[in-house]
Symmetry: C2
Amino acid sequence: MPLQRRTSRSPLALLPLALLAGACMTCMTCMAAAAELSPADAERHAQATYREYFELLSLPNDAISPEDIRKNVEWLEQAFRKRGFTTRQLPNDGKPMLYAEYPGSDPARKTVLFYMHLDGQPVIPAQWAQKSPWTPVLKRKAANGGWEEIDSAPLFSGPLDPEWRVFGRASADDKGPIMMMLAAIDALKAGGGQPAVNVKVILDSEEEKGSPSISKVMQAHRDLLRCDAIVIHDGPMHATNRPTLVFGNRGAARAQLTVYGAKVPLHSGHYGNYAPNPAQRLASLLASMKNDQGRVTVAGYYDHVKIGEADRKIMAAVPDDEAALKRRLGIAQTDKVGANYQEAMQYPSLNVRGMAAAAVGDKVANIVPDKAVAEMDLRTTPDSDPAYLGQLIQKHIERQGYHLVKGEPTDEERSRYDKLASFSYQSEGGEAAGSQIDSPVGQWAYRALSDTFGAKPEPVRIRMMGGTVPTAEIVRVLPVPFAIIPLVNADNNQHAANENLRMGNYVSGVRTVYGLMTQAF
Amino acid sequence: MPLQRRTSRSPLALLPLALLAGACMTCMTCMAAAAELSPADAERHAQATYREYFELLSLPNDAISPEDIRKNVEWLEQAFRKRGFTTRQLPNDGKPMLYAEYPGSDPARKTVLFYMHLDGQPVIPAQWAQKSPWTPVLKRKAANGGWEEIDSAPLFSGPLDPEWRVFGRASADDKGPIMMMLAAIDALKAGGGQPAVNVKVILDSEEEKGSPSISKVMQAHRDLLRCDAIVIHDGPMHATNRPTLVFGNRGAARAQLTVYGAKVPLHSGHYGNYAPNPAQRLASLLASMKNDQGRVTVAGYYDHVKIGEADRKIMAAVPDDEAALKRRLGIAQTDKVGANYQEAMQYPSLNVRGMAAAAVGDKVANIVPDKAVAEMDLRTTPDSDPAYLGQLIQKHIERQGYHLVKGEPTDEERSRYDKLASFSYQSEGGEAAGSQIDSPVGQWAYRALSDTFGAKPEPVRIRMMGGTVPTAEIVRVLPVPFAIIPLVNADNNQHAANENLRMGNYVSGVRTVYGLMTQAF
């Protein structure tokens, strides 16, 4: 394979680098920078880690068990140390996080902190089509379209099929990416080179619990973790499985709205048409918050959303197959919040995630309910935080004539106010975060991916993903630009039964991490 | 006590009757018509039946048990027979109804069929503040405002307190009224007179199950039951406890509306603002059906409601204390369907009796629900039946752009129609029924009550009660004018734990039934 020096490159710089490459083929010892990693070598280094991967997947990692977390941390600490990393367990109330730093740090280079997590979602073993979620198995696509288990021996020694998948809890979320990094390091060491950036790694131990401790632990080790950029390897790649860069995520807040009727449920014969129905009133209130196109009509809700022309172009370039998506979801039309899926995710949402008044189905009764509840989640954006959105909704409710109470209204309140409701909101499960697509980090990551996988088709750039990951909690402590670079197949059943990793993604993930580590910025 | 002949009387006829009365005091044997019943004599005859009343209340009567129903029918059959009635058990799939006819039927007189029911609501004994719902107890108001149990011996022999109450299942609904009739017969027989109308009685055995069999059983004995008027002794009197006449009741229909979203619940981060939210859409749809004042805005919904000036005057005369009612319900304002409570009950209702989408509370999840359900009950009126109202709602839903499906939509339907819903409706729990307030029967009943209790304050006349009783099922077979004449206190906890009868109502009930039986029409 041809070896090439890696430096920060623009297309214009390609020619001199290509010339240099030939010169260096005869001069291995002088190379401080790392060589290109061919797909075949990436596969070879990946395959060499598959036994470790299976071993790691055999360790239960639900953060509900500190003992399990400790076993994972110890295993991972050994894995990083034997590759030359210095490591340190960061205490976290019995569930330590792991810090690892690659040797040869050079102040002249930029420092990148790679964030991944070692814990996994809880499992319900009975839902899994295998002996245990903690006993990884190899599967291939069966003739009937499902997955059939096959002997895993060829995975460790024979020729590989990129369409094979390893099934097991955390196979994709997020132990797969950790293993890809270890394999990328193996490849780097085998090439005898040095990374182009200083490499620091932090492995969260409670990501699946909402990363309640990451800010605190990072704050306690701020100097240790100091960096110029943060790369987050978590979550799924774009559905096309093309290299994917994500520059932000919405946050999540919850809100609860209760509309009160009479003190107790009433006979609907004797009181229907007389006692106001809180389910009906809740319906009217919710209806007043959105129009028929799904756009929020609460005054000011979208006021802080700013999308420039450059952003729109980047979003329009995302190869979303919306026709296929609609078919898969079973909907003929989407809400008309954005011109396309990506644009829709740039806006804060107001979603009724649950609604209840009295009973439906078998337990239904002929009553006028005494109250009606709507549970909402608000997906927030960096410019529209929970307090801003919550206040707008609250004002909107009051403008509809409601008197807001805390908990059950008193007799005095009931006699004074026709319309009574309670409304509360709070941040939950993470804040929104955004990083400039064209920041130095954004440009660096883009170069690394296009250098590794080619400039056409270009890597998928997602300005802001709709879901919530703990980016904000991480960058709060270290306010540097970041990029979320997912490595695993989109259909990995993350968080559910039968989580899996496509082995072709393992190999491309090794190439991605290698490409990032060897790309200077 | 002065004895008076009873015939059909108008105020103008009072004087000659008063004169006749004196003449007859010395001529007991010639009297075919019955004497007036003084309050003291009514109380004496009532008290003489209290042991029987306790015995009857000791018999469980949930129609879920044919064996229990049979025991009640046998006990009642004996009670009617020993008072001279001819009786007949009307077969009904193991749960017979009882027919009883007072002897001396005269074709020259009008015949009144008295309907009551012998079955009762199910019980949850633990909810009762006494040893058993089937062991009646006597209670009096305690200093703390609650009810305290007292020795029942004085009930059978000592001086009575009208504020005492007997607690037990069916004490008010509807064994109390049956016993009042038996006591009224005792009084009649003691006076040696004959009733002014031919008296037939039918005791339903499944009223609390929605009277599923009354029409069929009555149809099978149509000739036996033939009559000129039907009097229904069931339900509570007006809250003032003034003599009460009810000339109709709303019917009940149920409807279920389901709005469909995506095929499965979706991650609200990735799909909030994109996949239409069916809870939100259901809210908008329900909001489109009623205005802020609680009036139905479905086109045509109230079109068949006709209320004349005479009706309005009668309704305005009902002594409802709406200020107290609102205080009790805990509401500051009522829906603005009618000018007052009575008027509101003349309109069909559209009541959301239950509503659900995904989960609320502990089980809430950050999803876009896949469907949302509203359970509705429509209270119908004689001119606005379930089919009429259901069709109007269905058309309304379609006019909002919905394509209606039966059950879950198919993929084809999902791809073709943006707005998908299913809607069904059907009659449930009884039809509406109405009888002219000024029909001969209405006038006759009014005279009986005002003769018995005085013309001022006048008896309460309710044009149509909001709840549903099986009047329609009864009059369908025998289409004669009817009057519902409730006899029990409004706060009797009907259908709930701690059902009770105010003993003053037992005595006034004896007077009412006596008054009806001795009033010609």
